[in-house]
Symmetry: C2
Subunit: 338 residues, 2 copies
């Protein structure tokens, strides 16, 4: 009755972003040109600040999603390039504002823009990029795409405020946390993937498939990100282990460990997170508790759950190299922790 | 050869915002309803922060401009109400971000949102309102109006960054200063007035007339605002006299007084503005120099110049109560200092 899975069929190699990178290579060059052009301004500080972040080595996953989700339906033209650039600008604007809100010193191992040019420039250049993003969307002229992306802009900001209001509150539930990451991260992944089929003028079912894929991929991505903050390959990614802990940010590894802990341990968590007692010694203890209660492995299991939903969302679509590349991205996002 | 102007024909009473308020009263009630509804969110902090600023007693000049500039062409419907609300949200978002950038404690005599809820909430709720503004524009469905307002959003942010880069630089010229206020203030007035004729589907000439009216009204408005900061009715408006001075902001009264002063006086200005020596004693001296060199009266003369351009922009349009109300607003803005 047992089934022997041959080694070559099992997941015996790390999933890679490479197929998606290769397929979108030509269009991503157009995106990169457009980024440089639309982040330009006679006001010198604007391209300086924008390019600092834009050139800091992000994977540009979101614009690749937009390109792939249009190209897989045979779309050629430039609307998807403009929308992909808009998506990247929305993301960059969010990062600029996030670093101000979180008072972050480092992002991807480099000083944040606010450490170099100040909070003021970070807020205002973020606003500029958001304005430029909307101008490009208007230029494309699809009211459906505008609807999806402007709604995402509102939802992202709403999620960030929600995160602020649950910050340092240990009674945050897993559902509260999911509401936050659905809004602040997954909504943009969903919008990035949904505008592809919109400009490709495909059917509503395909549009919904890509939207669902993006949303669940985004949830998996953020869950893994929150795991990385407590270890794994954090150093490789230019992150400091324990940044979330020190900022009193409530993420799923903490929520699980808190809820599963003893009364004494819960009291420790409250002092550390709500009381701001985030010494290295307390971080050590937190890491120990997270490990004891399976905080990281179970967060990864949650990420796999959403990854499976993302995979099933694409199932009805015809096989193609694009679909295969998008499916591999799911594993790639999750494999970052393993 | 002399012409005697009878007293009743000369400008013998203060211009008033009342005709515009009366004409737009019914539609402004719809705007106010929409503001409340679109600033709403399940995330409690959002309506709290938004309503603090929205209910703080601004005149809502910008949305009234949009309503009037649509209604004067016979437009009825709800597109102008939605666009007027979008304009007010864009303005509110800018104020929230400005207060963070300027580190302001007071606005219109009340504590700023950032003093009550912190910089973080001010940045993020501003982002939310901007997102909601775009959603309403998309809902209206006019790509022309979207183009005008999204361009304004970029230009405003660009102007704010430009202001940041000329801040505390006494070599700022009147032209530099005009570039700043054209972008950060006048562009939104221009856009607010231009989208009226757009939704009313009137001719291009009328659209350009309203745009020019708005732009020049905005310049006059900001010039007068900068005069008010050095006196006049500043206290009535809940402003502290000398706020700009203390923040090292370069406005036209300062530019004129600096350029017209002696070498010793210019050295004083550099120490005060660039060196941040903004004691009450130095403010007293600055006020004395501004008075000696006609810094306020000549800034008001500049405002009158732009007011005249605004008036001439509307000249070709047929007479109507709407046109009369818009013309009176020019004098109302300038009369604030007299």
């Amino acid at each position: 009755m047992g089934v022997v899975i041959p080694l070559e069929d099992s997941k015996n190699k790390q999933a890679s972003v490479k197929p998606l990178v290769d397929l979108t290579k030509a269009d991503m060059e157009r995106v990169n040109q457009l980024i440089l052009s639309k982040a330009g301004s006679d006001v010198q500080m604007i391209p300086e600040v924008a390019n600092h972040l834009i050139s800091s080595g992000g994977k540009r996953l979101r614009p690749m999603l937009t390109l792939a989700s249009a190209s897989m339906f045979g779309f050629t033209g430039d609307a998807h390039v403009k929308l992909a650039t808009s998506v990247e600008f929305m993301h960059t604007a969010t990062l600029l504002h996030d670093d101000v809100v979180d008072e972050s010193d480092l992002r991807r191992g480099k000083s944040t823009a606010r450490m170099i040019w100040g909070n003021q420039a970070s807020v205002l250049v973020g606003d500029f990029l958001l304005g430029q993003a909307f101008r490009m969307m208007v230029d494309v002229g699809s009211l459906d795409a505008l609807d999806v992306l402007s709604t995402a802009a509102s939802v992202i900001a709403e999620g960030e405020v929600l995160q602020l209001s649950v910050a340092k509150n240990m009674e945050t539930t897993e559902d509260d946390y999911l509401s936050v990451i659905r809004a602040k991260t997954a909504a943009l992944f969903a919008a990035a993937a949904e505008v592809g089929p919109i400009v490709a003028k495909t059917d509503k079912a395909s549009r919904n498939a890509l939207k669902s894929y993006g949303m669940n991929l985004g949830l998996a991505f953020q869950l893994v990100d929150d795991v990385l903050d407590y270890g794994g390959k954090a150093a490789d990614l230019g992150k400091n282990v324990g940044d979330d802990f020190r900022e009193g940010k409530i993420t799923l590894p903490v929520i699980l460990s808190y809820r599963r802990g003893t009364a004494e341990e819960r009291s420790f968590w409250r002092e550390a997170i709500e009381g701001g007692e985030s010494s290295d010694q307390n971080l050590e203890r937190a890491l120990g508790l997270i490990s004891r209660y399976g905080g990281l492995t179970d967060t990864i299991a949650r990420a796999q759950h959403y990854g499976t939903i993302a995979r099933d969302a694409l199932a009805p679509l015809p096989e193609s190299p694009w679909k295969a590349a998008l499916l591999e991205i799911i594993d790639f996002c999750i494999d970052r922790v393993s």
